[in-house]
Symmetry: C2
Amino acid sequence: MTGAVHQASLAVRRMGIETQQEYVVYMHRDCHVCRAEGFEAQARVQLHLNARSIIATLNVVDPPLLELGVAGLSNSAWRALKPLHGDRITVSHAPTLDSMSQVRAKIYGHRLDAPALDSIIHDVAAGRYPGTHIAAFLSACAGGRMDLQETIDLTRAMVAAGDRLDWGHAPIADKHCVGGLPGNRTTPIVVSIIAAAGLTIPKTSSRAITSPAGTADVMETMTPVSLGIEQMRRVVQREGGCLVWGGALALSPADDMLIRVERPLDLDSDAQLVASVLSKKIAAGATHSVIDVPVGPTAKVRSVEDYQRLKELLEQVAQACGLNLQVVRTVGTQPVGRGIGPSLEALDVLAVLQGAAHAPVDLGVRAVALAGQLLEFCGHSGPGTGEAIAQRLLASGAAWAKFQAICEAQGGLREPTLSRLREPVLAQRDGLVHAIDSRRLARVAKLAGAPRAPAAGIKLHVRLGDRVEAGMPLFTLHAEAPGELAYALEYLAAHPVIDVGEPR
Amino acid sequence: MTGAVHQASLAVRRMGIETQQEYVVYMHRDCHVCRAEGFEAQARVQLHLNARSIIATLNVVDPPLLELGVAGLSNSAWRALKPLHGDRITVSHAPTLDSMSQVRAKIYGHRLDAPALDSIIHDVAAGRYPGTHIAAFLSACAGGRMDLQETIDLTRAMVAAGDRLDWGHAPIADKHCVGGLPGNRTTPIVVSIIAAAGLTIPKTSSRAITSPAGTADVMETMTPVSLGIEQMRRVVQREGGCLVWGGALALSPADDMLIRVERPLDLDSDAQLVASVLSKKIAAGATHSVIDVPVGPTAKVRSVEDYQRLKELLEQVAQACGLNLQVVRTVGTQPVGRGIGPSLEALDVLAVLQGAAHAPVDLGVRAVALAGQLLEFCGHSGPGTGEAIAQRLLASGAAWAKFQAICEAQGGLREPTLSRLREPVLAQRDGLVHAIDSRRLARVAKLAGAPRAPAAGIKLHVRLGDRVEAGMPLFTLHAEAPGELAYALEYLAAHPVIDVGEPR
């Protein structure tokens, strides 16, 4: 009897409903499968098609939206199951999610051991956790509640849940920025310098999590970044480096699922951060990684104590996982460069690579320092010589040529698009710029539409210590939709972001 | 410009998609409002219709599911906005959820003060928290991470977020069971005895959270329980008592939202439990409440230490909120009565009230003890006399008459329906019943369809210490759908629930 029930199948239809990462199946209220299995609206059900299966949320629908015998699939579920014409799916109860008992144990204050983390991350990567369960897991692990061994085990579990690249030689260079400093887009410049120096740097980047732009968002305004593993391999073999989106590879699929929930929750967790960063480097085959951690009152890492804690955790977890790691503390008191948002940051990157007269000096200096450190760390340059070599590769145009070559190999270099809607925000008084709130600036850029609207964001016209006069523009808001521009202005009216005061 | 954008309106259509508590709005990919505001799939948006507004999740749809200029509403969103023919809605960005910064602070280990809890609970009650945010809040507060003052403030915030009844006199009696013991359905019996004694007991009950049946689920198999406040008031004025579902009243609306997320997460938290229980009693106008806490190895409260901690927390929070409270510890080593699941438990309740020969003795004894205690606590009976008075009211048929009168006042008494599908589960060997796992039994009853399928569940044929022979039925599974019966049997094959062994 059981077999017969489980075999009952349904024709499928693409509903044309975009639910993003959530898989949704729509079933007729009187559908025989629905009734036989006792499914109710919002139940979690398993959909089977040939060898593929996914866990989806059931939305029960009234006629006439669906006829009997047909199941509707959200666009995401359709993409995952890839039905062909005439294919039929079977539907069963979602299997018991045993790993949730581990999540509950963590919520109740117990440690998670390696098998527990493996089972959770395996289920997350397989799409078995609905958003609420992922949120519970993230909350239980945030706020310093993961110890060193748990963080190591989480990192290993995240590597094990995905593919892992092997480049067949060493060193494989890598750089990373912990973020929190708007406009700190050194990666494209560093990768170009390192690859121009002849080293291998297969760089994967993320999209924004809680910021107005990730490196992948910025690169995407100039070149395709959603490359598969084989495409990425060809680019790296040809040019020594790449600048691709990590999410299109299956290097750490659990991390991608976690990040989609973490982003709207705006949660930060050292353990999650370290596991997310290091699992992707290890999976990408890196052997030598330099990590930039900006420290400042409104950056992600706010104090030297926080920096020290994060540095030690990164180093300890990297060592346990066999990755050579250097952590570099940089100044994080104000945004880097002028642009905040994908296109506007891309313009800064291009100006630095091209040696343009208007290029933001701070961005170039930071990129060269990191590249120099990485050259020395990989044994390419002797101690104390890396920075000068990096500077020469940038100034000579070698890095710019390499950047163009990488973009060509990825599918072509294009100009970032600019926004139609712009609104300057003016100084209310004469004085000196005393403080710039990076967090609020990032917030404003996001309200204006970044990173989804690539041309949206902020162009800064002042830096700390600048003298301004009332009526001078402090920055210009860029947006692609009037509603979003209005929304950002509304927030700005209540939340000042640049403090202009008396000379001190 | 802002005004114009925010005024842009859309016609509405009921999509006929059941998403339960989640509000979903469906908008055409090329909809002018969608484009002007920069909305993306899964964004949280605010829908306005006349004076009403809700926060909904946006699902972007492809043609031809919706034409341009029309927004589709999920059934839940339609019920909340109540559009009339020709009504148009406006759509704007969901306001910034400032209270989430308090949730994050709690996740990071900080205390929540009264204003913080007020703001969180206010936003939750207003439907502004998506499931992921509620899950984060619940996880941050579970596992003993709320101190006494936080629990008091949470309770007060939950009372403040809803309506509050005032009966104009005292005492107002109430009883409650913390749960975890399948079949422990004393409430309908206690309410009937207390009301028969002439006291006022306006009892509101919940539906199941993590169990196979809540009192509201059981009562619903016999009478309507979804009464509004005015209907409930009329029943209580006429009969002195009622047995209604608390969720249909707006007594603690935040609690209902929290419970819907808590249920699939299967999270237990003392603070959440205490706030949930006490906020509803206080909002319902109770002055004297007796709380039954079963203690046993597979009950919700497993040890005397856990009982003591919960009792003190209940008493301290009740005192701070001006509620007279007595906590009673009862034996929780095995299920009570024979039925587990709404209809099967209702049959036990009816048998006890009717004094039937086959009535389960343990259920009657427990109900009489609790009713006796409550009679004394309210000052109706002298010390040591309550139980005898309660027993007399039950044995005389006065309680049964009162139960029928209450059901009639609520809309009529009906027979619980019985299941079509039954499957006995047999003893594998001769021996004595050594242990009954209440948690697993509850799990099996839920897999069989309870509480959603009211006739589904378990009928127990043995109790602790009974002698059984191989092939005798230990219990019978009841189900309404073959798939669910199969699902419960599948679980049973791997998870034994009744331990039959050598006489010891």
